[in-house]
């Protein structure tokens, strides 16, 4: 008896047989003309590719993409992102949720590594930016915990550590993302940086950011002050918080050792000197963690959990409960879990068509039925894997 018949009877055939078209080979990629993410709808645009607008791309979406994807778009001279179900479902809930006075709604995107969680967050973020929301996005928290450029003992939060360099980088990124909205925002109370210097109430957010960029020592304090302002709930527009790899906030390990601050121990001071400095002791990360709490109104939080945030550990886990641990799960509970699934047959077929059409798949085999079936099989529906493997074909 043939192997294929045996597999047919046990229904173990790959669903990617549908990537093979009846005509054979690649066909035209299905693109939509709708380049505004907030106008995408579940019944019309799912599974289609859209071209993000230049302003949206530069300000928002670019930060959510992997460097390899950004480089691919630069080389090809064109950009196309897929509209998928998780981002549209979250977008619909957020559109209803805004301005209700309800507490912060939290979504946790989960899925295998490379399945497309960050890009879904990027779609939601750029849709909210078009609706006029304030965006607070953190992309590199797990990298901040792997390497420390400068680590100082914090003045505004004793017992914790400031990462001044990352604070400055984040403030610049925040300003570039919200350039249209920030001129209208004012600080409601006086911010005291130290005993002598303070910024008066009523000054604009831009002044606070400029002060912190000029005085990097106070960049983390500035981030904390801005987040306090957001949590008061008195801003004229809702706030969207996007946090990539959120599980690193509750992780017990990091790449920063306690002796990174390089000072001599005080008399009688106890070790451990080589213990890891976790997110609880970093002011910047703790500030963003406060935004993920549900004790503030007029906003929402979308975060993802990934094995990348499980530093040096649990590389095969991808479920939220395992990655967040007891503490993280208790902090975030209740949240809305959103599964980012692998590509289905139609999505995979569309993606392969686009890669062929844009000229990235240069091999003749990639346009044939057998080649497409093999690409689908090797990547197993994982978007990131397909991107990596397609570089070879």
């Amino acid at each position: 008896r043939s192997i294929a018949n045996w597999l047919l009877r046990r229904r173990q055939l790959s669903p990617f047989g549908a990537c093979v078209n009846r005509r054979g080979g690649a066909s035209a990629a299905l693109l939509t003309d709708e380049s505004a993410p907030d106008r995408h709808s579940l019944d019309r645009h799912v599974g289609l590719l859209y071209r993000p607008e230049e302003a949206d791309w530069q300000a928002v979406t670019r930060h959510f993409c992997r460097p390899e994807l950004v480089r691919l778009f630069d080389t090809l001279g064109q950009r196309a992102l897929m509209v998928r179900r998780p981002a549209l479902e979250i977008g619909e809930r957020l559109a209803e949720h805004a301005g209700d006075g309800r507490p912060c709604l939290r979504f946790v995107l989960y899925g295998r590594r490379g399945s497309g969680k960050s890009l879904q967050m990027g779609h939601v973020a750029s849709a909210c930016r078009r609706r006029g929301w304030l965006l607070v996005t953190v992309h590199n928290a797990h990298l901040w915990m792997r390497h420390s450029r400068e680590l100082h003992e914090s003045a505004h939060r004793p017992g914790m550590f400031d990462t001044a360099g990352y604070g400055c980088i984040w403030l610049r990124h925040f300003y570039a993302m919200n350039q249209e909205i920030l001129p209208g925002l004012r600080v409601t109370k006086e911010l005291s940086w130290n005993a002598k210097e303070s910024t008066p109430a009523g000054s604009s957010w831009k002044e606070v950011i400029d002060y912190a960029l000029a005085r990097p020592r106070y960049s983390c304090a500035a981030v904390q002050f801005l987040i306090d302002e957001i949590k008061l709930g008195s801003l004229p527009m809702p706030t969207l918080v996007c946090f990539e790899v959120a599980n690193c906030l509750w992780w017990h390990r990091s790449g920063i050792k306690n002796d990174a601050i390089r000072r001599t121990p005080l008399q009688g001071e106890e070790p451990p000197w080589r213990a890891d400095i976790t997110a609880k002791q970093l002011t910047l990360l703790d500030a963003f963690k406060q935004l993920l709490d549900s004790d503030w109104n007029n906003g929402a939080a979308v975060m993802s959990v990934s094995p990348q945030g499980a530093l040096f550990d649990r590389l095969r886990e991808w479920m939220p409960r395992k990655l967040l641990g007891d503490e993280g799960f208790a902090y975030l509970d209740p949240f809305v879990p959103v599964y980012v699934e692998p590509y289905g047959p139609a999505e995979m077929s569309n993606m392969l068509n686009w890669y062929t059409e844009s000229g990235w798949l240069t091999s003749e085999a990639a346009a044939t039925d057998a080649g497409r079936a093999e690409l689908a099989f090797l990547s197993d529906g994982n978007a990131g894997e397909l991107l990596r493997i397609a570089g070879e074909w």
Partner: protein, 247 residues
Amino acid sequence: MSQLLLGYASRLLGCQSRSGSAATTAAAAAILSQQPVRHKSPLQKVRKRGPFPEWTKTDPDPHLFTRHIPKTDERRTKAVRPPGKYQIFSVHYDPIVNSFAGHFVKCGQRDKLRDVFTQMMAEIKHIQMARRNAAPPEEKASIEVDPTRVIHKAVENCSPLLIIKHVFRGGFLYKVPCPLRESESQMRAFKFLRIASNVRGTKEHLYRSLARELVNASNNEGKAVHAKLQLHKTCEENRAYANYRIT
């Protein structure tokens, strides 16, 4: 493997396997047209030694042959060389790229090298596409973007025709130019490319330096092609001793 996938696909879509019987007949004809081994009975074990015909890229999946062949058929006992260890029956398989990868393997870590080569071929595409975008319209068509073809051209440009062999004769060591087998010439090309892409320290990843070197070699520039030309020059200088060749 590719035929199996096609079979699954066509059954799933509900259409007939269009190419099944035609391919099998053609492949059977190709195999049968080769000289068969003569032995007493069809079931007797084959004892003849090589050179056996190789499995080539155009042959279909070997599993297809064991299904409907009767026991007395000579295809069951025909002597054919088994496929190589890293030979894949895939539409994307290329023997030169495969051998090139094998040349770089250290401590048996070929799977690690697979990732390096995937990145390297993507890097070749990036380099060549950037070059093509910047080139004037009349030159655009001549820039090769496919990484497999770039590797083929680079290996061809780095393959030496002659090599220096040292012959000790009459108390003197002579450098004798000798011809090369094709496989040895290919190996020399791989070696030139590997040494040319070696970057000291951690300044650059292998995939990046190797991609750059391959692109340069396909344009007849760079360190690897220079090494080959130096070798040819030494052979030319020592052509008087060509008759000292041993083999």
